[in-house]
């Protein structure tokens, strides 16, 4: 079942090769068309370099534009996700282990999840003021549901055999939680986390488009208002890179966490 290392590298290289070819085709096409709306990748890259990465070496080559806009956006995502995780995982495990309490809350949870997340931003814009508070609240309001519902599902569907074994071995409540329930809920929790992480990027941009005085979404909005297409595309490509990196990080964390989990499961047998 294991794919050999060299083969995986080959797949990885081929994937980037395909991207390089696609970018090259776009470059040729954009050069020949001279389209205002779709600038060539070389223009976008030089715009990105000039805008964010041409700063002094002492600041890791980041410009003041980068520290003033890219950093706040990333910080908002991290705070929002941290709050969602801190609330959703303990609450989800508690709810998942209690069918009675979940029964009381289920319609509310289903309804909260069905509300299109984009309506959260105007609500928080009215409740709070313009700024980080409103953006973080929007990110939390959107990212908490996939995490919570998946954690509930994961904690609820712990195998009966595992729980009975824990009872036979007289595991304390705490051991039962940390050694049986949380490990069996982890794969589901990661499914939720994956959804929440990609939602957090969407909600960061959206809330900054709606109302912000800095951030990537703010830069995007001002680029669009001043019809600066290269700058607009630069922010779009930056978002794609951010999204890609966030996926890679979640993949890595999942692989580390769940390989331990798989190892532990094998050991337990």
């Amino acid at each position: 079942m294991r794919i050999p290392g060299w083969l995986r590298w080959l797949g990885w290289i081929r994937q980037w090769l395909v991207l390089a070819i696609a970018v090259w085709l776009w470059q040729e096409w954009a050069n020949s068309r001279q389209s205002t709306f779709f600038p060539p990748p070389s223009t976008i890259l030089s715009q990105m370099h000039q805008q964010w990465f041409s700063g002094p070496a002492a600041h890791l080559f980041l410009t003041s534009d980068a520290t003033g806009n890219v950093v706040p956006s990333v910080v908002r995502i991290l705070i929002g996700l941290a709050i969602s995780i801190a609330i959703a995982i303990p609450l989800g495990i508690a709810l998942g282990r209690s069918a009675v309490v979940t029964g009381f809350l289920d319609p509310l949870l289903q309804f909260a999840r069905a509300i299109p997340v984009v309506t959260a931003a105007p609500v928080f814009l009215a409740l709070f003021q313009l700024g980080t508070q409103m953006e973080v609240a929007t990110i939390v309001a959107g990212t908490i549901w996939p995490l919570l519902l998946n954690t509930i599902d994961g904690a609820r569907t712990v195998g009966a055999l595992h729980l009975e074994t824990a009872t036979v071995f007289r595991l304390s409540r705490w051991e039962r939680l940390t050694k049986v329930i949380i490990p069996s809920a982890l794969p589901k929790i990661f499914t939720g986390l994956r959804l929440s992480v990609s939602l957090s990027l969407i909600l960061m941009v959206y809330s900054e488009l709606v109302g912000s005085s800095n951030g990537i979404g703010y830069e995007m909005n001002s680029a669009s208002n001043s019809f600066d297409l290269p700058e607009f595309w630069a922010t779009l490509v930056l978002l794609a890179i951010l999204g890609y990196l966030m996926n890679v990080i979640v993949d890595g964390v999942e692989k580390l966490t769940l390989s331990w989990h798989r190892g532990a499961k094998r050991f337990a047998r």
Partner: protein
């Protein structure tokens, strides 16, 4: 998907459906009462009273403008999803059955997918202007991925024995695709459609809110109008409430249609 796995929670079986319904109803009532009490303690300029919000929501039913807005949002939802299905399902069938094509597109898709579709609201409105055409373009882009992905995943799941059997009886490739591959991929496509349904609603409302009145009628435009000037928080919350109900109803309709149209999939629902 939200239905209870039979083996996992024996308690829900023991209590039965009526107990669960009444619990859910109690949960909703307790929430509403608590929200009303919180509204009494907090000045209504900060957090509007729950009774005010519910009253406004009831009034919206007789508001002709709001009904027209809901109709326009529904129209973009139906048209957007229909166009996406017509494009994404055949494309998915093609990509899923021709390995070479699939590899090259997967690399591109891997880099396109992280771009948050709400970030494209401004780009599409710059290129196409605002209005239904722009909303539909956005919906088709955003909904493309879940349907395409699930179609390909569905083809991966086709029972090879069934295909080989038909081949042994002399059926052609197209005939096998029509009789075996498509029917067994349909449940996956239906799941993709339900995910896409939520995305379509989000993008339709989100585009309306960011572009505002220029984008024509829609729930997003309604919320944008309620937010301008001295923002009318109860009105925003009332519209959000209806947006959530719309999301629930659309999901229920799709789930019902899935059960009716794909009876062979009933076992796993």
């Amino acid at each position: 998907m939200s239905s209870e796995p039979a083996a996992a929670s024996p308690r829900s079986v023991r209590f039965g459906v009526p107990v669960q319904w009444s619990r859910g109803a109690i949960g909703v009532v307790v929430f509403l009462v608590l929200a009303e009490l919180a509204g009494l303690a907090i000045p209504s300029s900060v957090l509007p009273r729950m009774s005010t919000v519910l009253g406004q929501a009831a009034q919206l039913v007789t508001n002709g403008q709001f009904i027209a807005d809901v109709g326009a949002t529904l129209e973009s939802w139906v048209l957007g999803l229909a166009i996406t299905v017509v494009i994404a399902v055949p494309l998915g069938l093609l990509l899923g059955s021709v390995p070479g094509v699939r590899f090259f597109t997967r690399a591109i898709v891997e880099f396109l997918r992280p771009i948050p579709s709400v970030a494209l609201i401004l780009l599409v409105s710059l290129v196409l202007g605002s209005g239904m055409r722009m909303t539909l373009t956005l919906i088709v882009y955003g909904c493309m991925w879940p349907i395409l992905y699930n179609t390909i995943a569905g083809l991966d799941d086709v029972d090879p024995v069934a295909k080989e059997t038909l081949r042994a009886f002399g059926f052609g490739r197209l005939s096998i695709a029509w009789r075996v591959s498509l029917p067994s991929a349909l449940p996956f496509i239906a799941t993709g459609l339900r995910i896409a349904s939520a995305v379509a609603l989000i993008l339709s409302i989100g585009a309306g809110y960011i572009i505002g009145g220029l984008n024509g009628p829609g729930i997003g435009t309604f919320i944008a109008n309620a937010s301008t000037g001295t923002s009318d928080t109860p009105q925003i919350l009332a519209a959000t409430l209806w947006a959530g109900i719309l999301g629930l109803v659309l999901n229920a309709v799709l789930t019902w249609a899935e059960r009716r149209l794909l009876p062979w999939h009933k076992a796993s629902l």
